[in-house]
């Protein structure tokens, strides 16, 4: 900066650095939203692929397969969708600086997410077609598997956030990590609703 005579009255270096910290959190959340938007295009591509296959395939269901059972997946859907409300309540508690309330509802979200994963695993185990059984099998496992991976990631992220809530003073002025994780959870939820309609309702 040697050659330029800078206006020192703009900002003192100290205030710049204090503001930096808060801003950085906001950058993270912004960046995370950008990332989620991008990620959603992968799902969109899979959905488009699914629709193309389903509307154009000559023999869609593999031999001996009648279709998909809807009852258990529907229960699973209810659990996952309601967990979006639960995680919201957890966030509200954090906002009101009630850490134990936050932890309780956060943990409940994790439990509901895990229940979903368990239900998915049980469903997979009971199916009489596999990943390589035609386009039906391929798209089914691809979509539910890729989504399930996201649910798993969500639960793991929630675990990390829960752990970090025990660091003293860590969540004093809100926490981007919590906001981002919860956003991710809503995202995973919305994707599931579309997926459920495409795969289970539209048979």
């Amino acid at each position: 900066m040697s050659s330029v005579n800078l206006d020192q009255s703009l900002n003192s270096a100290a205030t710049v650095h204090a503001a930096d910290h808060h801003e950085e959190g906001e950058h993270r959340l912004f960046g995370f939203i950008v990332f989620l938007l991008s990620e959603s295009v992968i799902f969109l591509s899979f959905f488009v692929g699914y629709i193309v296959y389903k509307t154009s395939a000559t023999d869609w269901l593999p031999a001996g397969v009648e279709g998909l059972e809807v009852r258990e997946p529907f229960i699973n859907t209810i659990v996952l969708v309601s967990s979006s409300f639960v995680i919201y309540i957890a966030e509200r508690y954090l906002h009101k600086e009630n850490l134990w309330g936050f932890r309780a509802f956060w943990l409940l979200t994790m439990a509901m997410g895990s229940f979903f994963l368990y239900g998915q695993a049980v469903e997979w185990m009971g199916l009489d077609f596999g990943f390589t059984d035609g386009l039906f099998g391929g798209t089914f496992y691809l979509l539910t598997g890729f989504h399930g991976l996201h649910v798993l990631t969500g639960v793991l992220l929630q675990g990390i956030m829960l752990g970090r809530s025990f660091i003293p003073g860590n969540y004093d002025d809100g926490e981007v990590g919590v906001a981002a994780t919860s956003l991710f959870w809503h995202f995973v939820d919305v994707i599931w609703i579309i997926l459920f309609i495409l795969i289970y309702v539209w048979q």
Binding site: S2, V4, G31, Y53, S56, G138
Partner: protein, 562 residues
Amino acid sequence: MTEISLEALSPKREQPVPGEPENWRRFFSFSTDHKVIGIQYIVVAFVFFLIGGFLAMIIRGELITPEADLVDRTVYNALFTMHGTIMLFMWTFPVLNGLANYLVPLQIGARDMAFPRLNAVAFWMVPVFGVILMASFLVPGGPSQSGWWAYPPVSLQNPTGNLINGQFLWILAVALSGISSIMGAVNIVTTIIRMRAPGMTFFKMPVFCWAVMAAQTIQLFGLPALTAGAVMLLFDLSVGTSFFDPATGGDPVLYQHFFWFYSHPAVYVIILPVFGVFSELFPVYARKPLFGYKFVAVSSFVITGLSAIVWVHHMFASGTPGWMRMLFMASTMLISVPTGVKIFAWVATIWGGKIKLSTPMLFALGGLVNFLFAGITGIMLAAVPFDIHVNNTYFVVGHFHYVIYGAAVMGIYAAIYHWFPKMTGRMYYEGLGKLHFVLTFVGVNLNFLPMHPAGLMGMPRRVASYDPEFAYWNVLASLGGFLLGVSTLPFLLNMISSWILGEKAPANPWRAIGLEWLVSSPPPHENFAVIPTVVSEPYGYGKNEPLIASQMASTELTSELS
């Protein structure tokens, strides 16, 4: 893809590696300084450029005679596949990311990127997937032979039967490249939107930053589609699913849609930043404000939007129904409108200026000329009846090499020369630079112009042997190719010797306007001691207006700039 979220959530920002800008060891460290990462990107990418170029020399050597006599046909297939893949995923994208990394924070008046650590991770993935791709030379069966687009069912053949085969490594490398690019795109877009210096509204932002933002937006919406296709291809190849394999009911054309939905826009990921470079350089070397600054800035985003709706022009001959051909023919031709706006603005900028033909300007002008030519052949290709005739011939190869070598690589050279003093604190040798320009410009035209007549005569692409009637054009092209090989030598010599021995560069050797030219060369750690407040557009050449608030007082600086 989920590691990204973990990274983005990590609580503490690591301090950049300590050390003076003169400390060369930081280039070999996990530095989080955007300037170090920028140069790391550029250097690593250039190494891959040389490797990809070496493969091209063998290809041109094979094609100098009509017979397949130099290498085996399967080797030839592997060569052009690896050549294309390396040039796009390991040279062009990374080198442009390097330029963006280096320049964007400086140009918008930020101390670093929004996520310095994510930045470093994204960079270090480049050598990793580069090595993975290179490793495919060592596996049984050799590298993938299905071309850079990896169309099934060709890409699903697995003659060796191994799980780890050339195509498998290819998909892995491309997928990792995609993840790295998404990390980079999230970072760059966040940086530009949220970290501009006070006073720098979007319409006071340099066009290079506009162009980079438009290009990275493409990565964000396009790459996931390619990733989806690549994942499905990988399962087909290694698990035996039937997504794209027609033998088991799959749909190979769907893969083409996934591929081109990204890979057409990807050509704008390449060319938009190069347009940005042109827009930065012409005003400096013509000493005139950028003509129609706002139009040039916005047209990048118009191109981004349009680029998403033209991909089927690569599939006119893929059994595409007539109505689709018509639609995509029309949308493709529309792209020439915003592109034309830019070309018009550049010509108007140069027109009547005090032109200084130094190396960066020569490369920029040469790039512009080549781009004009490529744009014309592009519009020709967009016309369905013509394209059906030349699809999969050397005409297409000629078209895209004019853009990618003639315009993009020459624009990248222009940028490297222009910002070399800023990056290294040294001046390059003008004579060697001019020699490099002449060799490159002549080489490009000698190599790629003859491909057009050969293609029009019907010479198919991706063949090791051809009808002797095409021999004349191929000999010319090969000579041009070897000339291009030679052209990298003066460049390398110039870069290395100037970096070590060159004359020390002042802060602003070109009397250019822009925040990056207000700081020392090379810029200090964290760029700006005090973040400047921007008060005007960045192209006030000859206008005698201050760029930042503190210059209002110091008039001797502004008059020096005009």
